[in-house]
């Protein structure tokens, strides 16, 4: 998995809702495969927009986005959807879980939508449920008895662990996290994040982690200030 190369390459990127008036401009930003990058910046600076662009949900006005060696602009929308489902796991700030599914079903959900993630497990000879249990355990949710319980029965911190396990099941190449720890208290934040990073190191997952909280940066290979890569037309 951890082959040398580029996981994300952004070049002369412009994004905005009105042509000619870009809301976000990024001259260049590169993340190597296997690298864990902490992207730090205040709220509302356009970090989430950047993640939407990397995920292929938003389309740039100009410039290029290459993810895992493939150009997102060259793909049709459906192909981008499939590509994202197969290769990128997402964790968001809060309320990540489908409320009417059990903890286990939440974790297994990406496998239902991506054949490649199922095949990744099969290739390693791992049963999906066993892998879900392993991931939840690795992220600090040991109790097997609660896996059948509804996701809403968990505390916010536990829910984020479930969301992380879900993002990582089937070994996507890239993990994109958007302020996943901001709803957690300081202790929970530290332990959750170190377990998450450990799992990503083990699996060789590339990580782009976005937060305003610079205290988290020591856990990452590289810290990038969002302001250093972006220019805003109105700024």
């Amino acid at each position: 998995m951890n082959t040398p190369g580029t996981a994300i390459a952004l070049n002369h990127l412009q994004f905005g809702w009105t042509p000619g008036q870009p809301f976000l401009e990024i001259a260049g930003f590169t993340v190597a495969r296997g690298e864990r990058v902490f992207l730090q910046g205040p709220s509302g600076c356009g970090k989430s927009t950047l993640l939407g662009l990397i995920g292929g949900v938003l389309e740039p006005l100009s410039g290029s986005i290459d993810v895992l060696g493939r150009s997102l602009q060259a793909m049709r929308r459906q192909d981008r959807d499939r590509f994202r489902a197969a290769h990128i796991g997402f964790i968001f700030q809060m309320f990540n879980l489908v409320p009417y599914l059990s903890i286990l079903d939440n974790v297994l959900l990406p496998l239902e939508f991506s054949r490649e993630r199922r095949l990744n497990l099969e290739a390693r000879g791992v049963q999906p449920v066993a892998e879900a249990r392993r991931l939840l355990g690795a992220l600090g949710l040991e109790d097997g008895g609660m896996l059948k319980r509804p996701a809403t029965a968990l505390s916010q911190g536990q829910q984020q662990r479930v969301a992380a396990a879900r993002a990582l099941i089937g070994r996507p190449d890239l993990l994109v996290a958007d302020e996943p720890t901001s709803s957690l208290d300081a202790d929970a934040r530290q332990s959750f994040l170190s377990l998450l990073m450990q799992e990503c190191v083990n699996a060789g997952t590339t990580v782009v982690f976005v937060s305003h909280d610079s205290a988290l940066s020591p856990l990452f290979d590289r810290t990038v200030a969002f302001s250093s890569i972006s220019g805003r037309a109105d700024a």
Partner: protein, 419 residues
């Protein structure tokens, strides 16, 4: 397969509103199917009540009226047919058989029919079925009575029991013929026709009843004299109507015209099938109106579903975004919403059909005894299946609107979770 499962679980998660929506559809479907069921069952029931009869003759009134009171025991005759003219027509060379009908009395709310042995020999219903006895046999003596299946069952009468008849057709009669008890000699097998709710006696008996009643001031002397009346063969002055069977169908129109143009007495002869058609033409307007109303109720039920689904869309935007972030494509979201509409419609139809059949099962005995409406038994009809499929199709069609909205939302929202 994940999409239908997600739809099911999502619906279960919102089961309160979902239940109401399903009930709305179910009630509307049950109503529509119920109207149609009563419609078709009434038609087959009426059509099955009399078979093989070529003409029905009564005093001159409306054809539908004559058919209703003579065969279906609905309403009353205004006049009768004189015995003499009945005998004349019965003796006509083209006439194979006749059944005299004398109505106007009752026994505890059930109509009493005065007739003769020809009734049991020639009356046909449900294409070609004959009247069969569950117990006993036809009346022989003057004060014998043959009960319809419902009468015997409802009043718990058995063979050999004495009953008394009343003049008039009310449930409670003040003029009971208490002093002339009848003896039950036969109980008919169930027919699904008004015969089930009829007490059959001989014409003699009817005449004797009325002779008794008029005895204090007898209009004619000897025939109504106390000493002889019970033994002498009483000839009725008139009967209410009679059924005619011809030797050949081809003579029906000619004889009908002859009777209708007969100058000695105002008579009316009808062809039962033709008059039944006239009845349906009258009833058909009301039926069509009922069907339209029922159809509108189904439409309203589906609108209710649409409202519920559309209202839920906004609060489910985050659910959609979560699904999208784990790999669901906008097409999956569209399918999810369509599956929900199909599930709602399908559940509504299934509950609706169950509701209808439960209602029919509960209401049938009451409808039969109270109104003489015979509903066909259980079993889901092709019409019910077709209508059900149609309602589900309409639900899916209606579901396309919220599905499309959800699809557009999903594209616009991307992965952004709106908290």
């Amino acid at each position: 397969m994940i999409i239908p499962r997600l739809a099911l679980l999502s619906l279960w998660n919102r089961r309160g509103t979902v239940l109401l929506t399903v009930c709305g559809i179910a009630v509307s479907v049950a109503l529509l199917l119920g109207v149609q069921k009563i419609r078709t069952d009434l038609r087959t029931g009426f059509a099955n009540t009399i078979s093989g009869a070529d003409l029905i003759v009564g005093s001159r009134s409306g054809p539908v009226n004559l058919l209703l009171y003579s065969i279906f025991r609905i309403g009353d005759a205004t006049n009768g047919v004189s015995w003499g003219i009945y005998r004349r027509i019965a003796a006509h060379p083209e006439v194979a058989w006749t059944i005299p009908l004398s109505l106007g009395d009752s026994h505890r709310g059930y109509r009493v029919l005065g007739t003769n042995g020809d009734y049991f020999a020639h009356y046909r219903f449900a294409q070609s079925r004959v009247l069969e006895f569950a117990a006993g046999g036809p009346f022989i003596r003057r004060h014998d009575a043959v009960l319809g299946a419902d009468v015997a069952a409802a009043l718990r009468y058995t063979l050999g029991q004495s009953i008394t008849l009343a003049h008039g057709v009310g449930e409670v009669s003040f003029a009971n013929h208490d002093d002339l008890p009848f003896v039950v000699t036969g109980i008919l097998a169930r027919t699904g026709t008004p015969a089930d709710r009829t007490v059959h006696v001989s014409l003699d008996a009817i005449e004797a009843l009325h002779a008794r009643e008029e005895a204090p001031a007898p209009p004619e002397g000897a025939a109504h004299d106390e000493g002889h009346s019970l033994d002498a063969a009483l000839t009725p002055d008139s009967i209410t109507a009679f059924i005619v069977g011809l030797k050949g169908r081809s003579a029906a129109f000619q004889i009908q015209r002859d009777i209708n143009e007969f100058r000695g007495e105002p008579l009316l002869a009808i062809l039962p099938g033709v008059t039944l058609q006239q009845l349906w033409q009258v009833v058909g307007i009301a039926e069509a109106a009922l069907l339209v109303v029922a159809g509108c109720v189904v439409f309203a039920g589906l609108l209710g579903m649409l409202t519920a689904v559309l209202t839920s869309l906004n609060e489910r935007r985050r659910e959609m975004a979560i699904l999208r972030s784990v790999g669901a494509r906008p097409g999956h979201v569209f399918l999810l919403m369509m599956s929900e509409a199909a599930l709602l419609g399908g559940a509504g139809v299934i509950v609706g059909i169950a509701l209808l059949h439960a209602t029919v099962a509960v209401a049938t005995p009451w409808l039969e005894s109270r109104y003489g409406v015979f509903l066909s038994g259980n079993g889901i009809t092709a019409f019910e299946l077709l209508t059900g499929a149609g309602v589900v199709a309409a639900a899916v069609l209606a579901g396309a609107l919220p599905a499309w909205r959800a699809y557009r939302n999903t594209l616009a929202d991307g992965l952004t979770l709106r908290v």
